[in-house]
Symmetry: C2
Subunit: 429 residues, 2 copies
Amino acid sequence: MRTRPLKVALLGCGVVGSEVARIMTTHADDLAARIGAPVELAGVAVRRPSKVREGIDPALVTSDATALVKRGDIDVVVEVIGGIEPARSLITTAFEHGASVVSANKALLAQDGAALHAAAGQHGKDLYYEAAVAGAIPLIRPLRESLAGDKINRVMGIVNGTTNFILDKMDSTGAGYQEALDEATALGYAEADPTADVEGFDAAAKAAILAGIAFHTRVRLDDVYREGMTEVTAADFASAKEMGCTIKLLAICERAEDGGSVTARVHPAMIPLTHPLASVRGAYNAVFVESDAAGQLMFYGPGAGGSPTASAVLGDLVAVCRNRLSGATGPGESAYAALPVSPMGDVVTRYHISLDVADKPGVLAQVATVFAEHGVSIDTVRQQGKDGEASLVVVTHRASDASLSGTVEALRKLDTVRGVASIMRVEGE
Amino acid sequence: MRTRPLKVALLGCGVVGSEVARIMTTHADDLAARIGAPVELAGVAVRRPSKVREGIDPALVTSDATALVKRGDIDVVVEVIGGIEPARSLITTAFEHGASVVSANKALLAQDGAALHAAAGQHGKDLYYEAAVAGAIPLIRPLRESLAGDKINRVMGIVNGTTNFILDKMDSTGAGYQEALDEATALGYAEADPTADVEGFDAAAKAAILAGIAFHTRVRLDDVYREGMTEVTAADFASAKEMGCTIKLLAICERAEDGGSVTARVHPAMIPLTHPLASVRGAYNAVFVESDAAGQLMFYGPGAGGSPTASAVLGDLVAVCRNRLSGATGPGESAYAALPVSPMGDVVTRYHISLDVADKPGVLAQVATVFAEHGVSIDTVRQQGKDGEASLVVVTHRASDASLSGTVEALRKLDTVRGVASIMRVEGE
């Protein structure tokens, strides 16, 4: 074994960073044996260097992250700051000064992955980011290495623990969205400002990263259709139950049936209770992958938290260190397929639509005509009357999102349709 | 991209090999783009070269596997023959003649993994075998790479599709073992001689491989305790249901609580219906992994079949080809921890025991005394009387297998105990 240690600079020492530092210290012998050389924490850049950090030598702590990555003797920079800047500049500077990079930064990778990969390639360095998607769950490596000889057709996952906790709570207790959110906040599963989670921004960043890797195509954050889950109601869960379904916020990356384009989207959807994703409880994450040869695979585990994220970071750290020792680099960006990313209107799926309608003869015929005119075929209709008002629940066969939108627009114009109570996609069948 | 192709020799062209060849041909462009060089099928060694093989140039086919691997221009040998010989000699010869190896051979890896790894290391070549365990499910790579910075404490999985199909059928239909086996055979899920599957030999080989990787310790096939599932009855399933459980044939690799030793075992066990492994249906496989930092992970997918296994083989092929191009090798055997492998008697778990007893006062007290004398603490007892006979169902707290064996031996000697109807371990709680 080499005795000269590989030097690691840690950028950020919050929930994840402190766990990375702790494990690097307590498991130093194991890491050395697995890498083939000792790894040494050479510096820790933080915003408040005066804060006492248990187990970390104060002499290693600095507020000058730029100086740390410019030192020139750093082998690997571990970036767990999050956000776009200064993380992006620091990573670029790290490559320029000879370091490889391990990052847990989904927002940055989703927005600037191509540029960062290019910078890594230009300097012959590694950029690894298993921790950026679904925390501890090995997903990036299986997609880009284990399935490298296969053709992935769909990646569909629960990639945000906060929203899964809320939806699971609504499902199991009948609670409304606000009540379930309040509980998630009280238990620390939701942040004080939950926007990034509940509006699907976090999941959309992960969808962009996953789609890019799965389809060997650059998928920008703007390419990902995004719809949050704040409008999911207890009534939606009741409807889902009647269909033998539950509701999950899903990130779905799909290859079109003709193979010529891809789509990526995040939205709440009904999925059958028999689908493996339906039984993913609490804040857990799971990702379902369908490919030509492997068939259906699922990866399940904790999608966030200090220790799970640190596990993913350290797995990457070991890989990057091994690469340093052998003088090689791991797989870089693979975007050769360069498939067009289609807009949401091209997505084909099924829909569950609840309409409030006048309770009089002929309404169903009117509604059915509108569906037919837009080429959307109806699978089932359920009609419920109450006090002069009625509700119609329509479940469609597969149709394009554009056709469905046109249908709904036309329905809203009907005198007999008082309102569209909810529209939800049905996936996983 | 390099234009000179990497040359692949395929040993075996059955269900898996023919799929590997097919995908190498139909997806040649994708593979080339992902590897950075074209891959060329340079030869196919088979037992009956005269048989017509669709899509394979007859000029490539040979019956002389040894000559093929000795050619000297082969970059990667893909071994999908199975069994010990001639596979072992061919792989060793391949290393000697400069090739890296991708194998799907669980029996060989479980028996001779250490020697083969040593041969690969001696010649600076790769030995990859993702397809040897759980078919298409990425498992070897996640364990030895993604979790390389973590400490794995338990790997518990359904790693044999045939037995899972049979047990699932017994669970869902109430069928007995033989009836379920007959159906599995008729549907092609079980071989004419199902011994390797139903007696747990196949799962034991996989357990040895998984334990070795998870614990960085050599685990020999002989170290794996093995108990088949041919004696699981419809009555066992009824008992399991009463406990909110189902029965699965599990491969379990565990680190002892003090961390100083490991165990590996294969046997049928009751697991709670709420456990993620309980809902693994049909011939699917799933492996549950528990580690210090990542927590609980699960990997799910098809554990066998031509296409799924080919997917795993091709993922390895891409990785090994990339390594050839960069002049590096991937992670080899990691056995530095060299932990002792404890015998089955040291395994600590819970037990579900059904006794046929005389229906008279004092029997429960006698039985309870025997458990207490052997230090096995009882969790629950259920007594059912019928026509002068009675059954006692005892569920224990955690106890060592040795203590439980001692208890059962003593129970058999009691006049009031007419027989021990079944003993089953309870896992996953």
